[in-house]
Amino acid sequence: MADLLVVDAIEKVYGEGSAATRALSGVSFTVAEGEFASIVGQSGSGKSTLLNLIGLLDTPTSGRVTLTGENTTALGRAGRARLRNEALGFVFQFHYLLPEFSVWENLTMPVQIARRTVSGEERDRALETLALLGLEGLERKNANQLSGGQKQRVAIGRALMNRPKLILADEPTGNLDTANTEAVYELFRTINAELGTTFLIVTHDRVVAQQTDRILEVRDGELVQDVRNDYAG
């Protein structure tokens, strides 16, 4: 399969001079379309920094991130925002839903940000997503009226809405109980299988990582392990 993501010798240094802290050092790897991979590491290992750089939320001090064939390090703020909207979907530990909007409005927000009114096809897709997430009938509810698990599922639906090539999930089940955690990973697997969406999941939990097909381990800002997990799924 073609490379969807190429991370090439990226470094991230915070601060300058004697106060400089190296968060990532010479990290390189590629992710092919349709992969279901995880990035593991201890707290402070640099895994979230890596995810932020891949998610175009931050820029590397050196090195290059290429996404869908586009060199993202050459892009300005507007270009990165466009690519985040078109090619990426984010699921964070906290749902980050907009409390002023309904479930439907939160779900379709990426479409509206792309300066589009929600087309018939997108409406159908949103309804399918709601069905897939088990959220039928909740469209008109305010985001604040949902349970924690429901909110996280709406956030997953929002990440799926623009049919992104890559979904980046940062500790997506960190705030959920065991039942909801299993449900979310089953959902990720279903989406990966049915829609071919690539997943890159950041977690500190090796049990969670064991459920993915590929495990990349970051330690002290370096990629120390990149293994296939034949026991997953």
């Binding site: 931050d58 925002a81 002023e100 927000m109 940000i113």
Partner: protein, 375 residues
């Protein structure tokens, strides 16, 4: 228009905060409309009382001449678009004697219709008839009361040449000024010509009213240089009144400016608080692809909505205050000027938009990573 939708939703999510700032803007705009309209109406009334029923420009005989031709009135009307009325008059001084009292009178002789155009006499009659037939005179209310003269009574005047002339009072007027009501009288044109020994086309002055009273100085300058006459205008003779009006306008503008500054600070601080309150939402919107410009426009729209709501409320409140003022025991009413109110509305919305610049800029600069990292 997503920015507008989000702005409206942000405002709706904090109804108390939004209502307070809209009320703040409304009070500011209402104050501006009320104070501005009050001062404008007060000044218009003062100017009307001072010169509304008197000449704005008087053309007097030029150097070496003792009369002006009646045609000078027609010439002035034709040459100046701002001239509303120009009439030829014959002015003279006379003395009225009653027992041991004697009082000088300033007499204006002219056609009754013509004089009515300048002095608005028809509406200002309090007794008798507005008429200036041969040998008839109109006197003011103070004169009539002081010397017990009324319609139908004889009026004997000592003329400048030492002769006596007898008139019959046909009516009593009120020009709104005590001095004028005591010292001014009107007689017919022929009697004034006889008293002054003038021919039919000889007059002592041309009295002019303009459509714009404040154009009197420039029009007087032109008329004085173009014709063989000397022109005087009301502004020369009312310098103190004008300086009083200018000071009043200045203080009115100061009050309005400070009110607007207070409104601007109120909106800016509310939007700054809102920008902080909504940092998380803005951050996540940016994380999922909203551009810096669109994020900044959310606060521009919030300001526009607050400004529009506050301005509409302010106009309504301003009209209510003006209506309430109509019941106050004062001798004039406030007349709201639509143009001034439209300008106030424009200023209100502009001030609101300007107030949003700082929060809009800080929002557009916000990095989504700040929100994501800080949770």
């Amino acid at each position: 228009m997503l920015s507008l939708k989000i702005a409206a939703r942000f405002l709706k999510s904090s109804p108390g905060q939004s209502a307070l700032i809209i009320a703040g803007i409304a009070v500011g705009i209402a104050t501006q409309i009320f104070v501005g309209s009050l001062i404008t109406s007060l000044q218009a009334d003062l100017i009307d009382a001072a010169v509304g029923s008197s000449p704005h420009i008087t053309l007097l005989p030029g150097d070496g001449a003792s009369t002006v031709p009646g045609t000078a009135a027609t010439t002035a009307s034709k040459s100046e678009l701002l001239v509303a009325t120009a009439i030829p008059v014959r002015t003279l001084s006379a003395i009225y004697t009653s027992g041991e009292d004697s009082v000088p009178l300033s007499i204006a002789g002219g056609d009754a219709t013509d004089l009515g155009l300048i002095y608005n006499l028809e509406d200002r009659m309090v007794s008798g008839t507005y008429r200036l037939g041969a040998g008839e005179a109109l006197v003011g209310t103070v004169f009539a009361a002081k010397y017990d003269v009324g319609p139908g009574d004889p009026l004997e005047l000592l003329l400048p040449d030492g002769t006596m002339a007898e008139f019959t009072v046909s009516g009593v007027f009120d020009l709104g000024q005590a001095t004028a009501n005591e010292r001014v009288a009107f007689v017919d044109a022929a009697s004034a010509a006889d008293a002054l020994g003038l021919a039919d086309d000889e007059y002592t002055a041309i009295q002019i009213q303009l459509t714009d009273v404040f154009a009197s100085t420039e029009v007087a300058d032109r008329l004085g240089s173009d014709n063989d006459v000397t022109a005087t205008d009301w502004q020369e003779e009312n310098a103190e009144l004008l300086s009083g009006l200018a000071a009043q306008s200045g203080s009115s503008i100061m009050i309005q400016v400070f009110v607007l500054v207070a409104v601007a600070l109120g909106i800016a601080s509310t939007l700054a608080i809102s920008a902080v309150q909504k940092t998380r939402q803005i951050g996540i919107l940016k994380a999922i692809g909203m551009g810096d410009g669109a994020a900044g426009r959310i606060f521009l729209w919030q300001a526009a909505l607050l400004g529009a709501g506050g301005t509409l409320g302010g106009i309504a409140l301003g009209y209510a205050l003006i209506w309430g003022f109509s019941f106050a025991p004062v001798p004039f009413s406030i007349r709201p000027e639509p143009t001034f109110i439209a300008i106030s509305a424009g200023i209100g919305i502009t001030v609101a938009l300007l107030s949003s610049i700082i929060p809009a800029r800080s929002t557009s600069r916000l990095d989504p990573i700040e929100v994501i990292q800080n949770g």
